[in-house]
């Protein structure tokens, strides 16, 4: 009886996973279709990939997405880290004020945050485009960075930095050599979240961009009304890149763990 239940639950899991992967496999499959159709596979061809790489607006959209994600990640990681460290030494009122305000863009629907930015930029007569999109991305990334660093700082012994300064470190050195190494994990996690938030963002980008500046999401959104197989190729390439990165990031620690486990077993055996 237990066995049949286990079989049933694994079948269920594979069905749900199939649901998750079906569209991804579908779009990759049809990116090799020789005709424009999205339901009839007429033959193998890589022409949509060629067309995609020679399409200037797609290439520009990829550039915009990557450049904004890189700058937004760098800025928001630095600002978020500095602010989080400051917060851990601030009065409770200040800490609460920052935390609550940061909750606003995280709890508000994206579209509300987005129109807030749009109204703000246009009221200041700032013409929207690359810069406004970048500013908006930095603004919505920082709260996530702070959120992932704060728990690490809370666990940190407050006497550490003081001890470092007693031993002659300047506050800067104490921060660089004592605090930051201990919260490194949180900083890296925050940077990863910021990068993926920025890279995948659609709603906020749509409302803060100006004429002629699109990221990948905006490009897809504004080009799907017609059948457009180059988007299949673009989607497929995103799938390849994401899969490759995730496999590398996740499999390496697993292999390392296994090796460590083996070493551990070996050590305990010797003992």
């Amino acid at each position: 009886m237990k066995k049949s239940r286990r079989i049933f639950s694994s079948i269920y899991m594979w069905i749900v996973l199939a649901f998750f992967y079906l569209p991804i496999v579908y779009v990759v499959f049809f990116s090799f279709n020789s005709s424009k159709s999205l339901s009839n596979f007429t033959g193998f061809s890589t022409k949509w990939y060629e067309e995609m790489f020679s399409n200037r607006s797609i290439m520009e959209a990829i550039m915009v997405t990557v450049v904004i994600a890189v700058i937004a990640t760098a800025v928001s990681t630095v600002v978020g880290t500095i602010t989080a460290i400051g917060m851990s030494k601030s009065k409770k009122v200040v800490r609460e004020f920052i935390t609550q305000t940061n909750n606003l863009p995280m709890l508000n629907p994206d579209i509300v945050t987005a129109i807030g930015f749009m109204l703000f930029f246009t009221s200041l007569r700032i013409s929207t485009g690359f810069v406004t999109m970048l500013l908006a991305h930095i603004a919505f990334c920082i709260p996530y960075v702070i959120l992932s660093i704060m728990p690490r700082l809370r666990r940190l012994d407050p006497n550490m930095a003081e001890a470092a300064m007693d031993l002659g470190c300047t506050p800067w050195q104490a921060m660089w050599r004592v605090i930051i190494p201990q919260i490194k994990g949180g900083i890296i996690a925050g940077a990863l979240v910021a990068f993926s938030m920025s890279f995948d963002d659609f709603v906020i980008s749509l409302f803060t961009t100006g004429p002629g500046i699109s990221n990948i999401s905006i490009y897809v959104y504004s080009n799907v009304k017609r059948v457009n197989p180059t988007i299949n190729a673009l989607s497929a390439i995103i799938v390849y890149v994401v899969t490759a990165i995730l496999i590398i990031v996740n499999v390496i620690p697993m292999i390392r763990d296994r090796r460590k486990g083996k070493n551990y077993e070996a050590i305990t055996e010797i003992r």
Binding site: T83, P105, E162
Partner: protein, 261 residues
């Protein structure tokens, strides 16, 4: 130590300008008439009156809320058994399963929704069903991961104790596992309901423009029509409704039955 506290000052300034001011501007636009000068405001509630007196807008709002509600229900119905099955696996298989559920989330939401367009074009489905499929597809992983996290935190000894004390599988599930996993379900609800209410590209991409939700209205008023005052009023109404529903869900979380810390 005090010198570190000053490090927050630049961000407080930035946050005030980039988070608080934009939010205030939405409120300001919502309660003023169109074509104002920056300095001479003319306050009005006409935007709100217009929303509720119109025949279309309240219908669209209601449709968005019910759609988000049913999307959330479906996500719980599919997601809970999935999370439960995952939590029962061996630790290494659990890690792989979490990875497999997370992986699609790293691929751009728009790209994944677009991919459904191709599949759904093979079938003759109503635009409502297509939008539901897109919604459940996009938000289900959040629900699964939240429930899974709360399930995997449950101490195995509690379940063993429950069996020792004479409870059968069903009783153990209903009285021990379910109450302890409720916090995960509730955080899953906020992660699904909230973006589902305001979603506008899923109905646009999969509903073929025939299925309008509140997010589509806001987009139209800002990008096509250019009536920002009315658009702001719509977003404010939506934000308030979402805030209230979040508050209610949070309240539910505070009173877990028969569990005391």
């Amino acid at each position: 130590m005090k010198s570190f506290a000053k490090l927050t000052i630049p961000y407080i300034v930035w946050m005030t300008i980039m988070i608080i001011v934009p939010m205030l501007m939405i409120v300001l636009y919502a309660v003023t008439v169109q074509g104002n000068d920056v300095l001479t405001f003319q306050f009005t509630f006409s935007n709100f009156i217009r929303f509720f007196q119109d025949s279309i807008f309240p219908t669209v709002l209601w449709r968005s809320l019910t759609m988000a509600f049913f999307t959330t229900l479906i996500c719980i119905a599919i997601g809970y058994p999935m999370a439960y099955a995952m939590a029962k696996l061996k630790p290494r298989s659990q890690a792989i399963m979490v990875l497999l559920v997370t992986l699609p989330m790293w691929i751009n939401m728009l790209v994944r929704t677009y991919a459904w367009k191709g599949i759904l074009s093979n079938f003759d489905l109503s635009s409502e069903i297509c939008v539901y499929i897109g919604m459940v597809y996009n938000f289900l992983p959040f629900m699964i991961l939240q429930i899974y996290t709360s399930l995997s935190k449950i101490d195995e000894n509690l379940i063993i104790a429950s069996h020792d004390l004479g409870a059968n599988d069903r009783q153990t599930f209903l009285r021990v596992v379910l109450p302890l996993s409720l916090s995960g379900v509730i955080s899953g609800i906020t992660l699904v309901f909230l973006p589902a209410v305001s979603s506008f590209f899923i109905p646009k991409l999969l509903g073929g423009g025939q299925y309008v939700l509140i997010g589509n209205l806001i987009e139209d008023y800002f990008i096509s029509t250019g009536d920002w005052n009315f658009g702001s009023a719509i977003s404010l109404i939506m934000a308030i409704i979402i805030l209230i529903s979040m508050y209610v869900t949070k309240k539910l979380d505070k009173e877990p039955p028969e569990v005391n810390d």
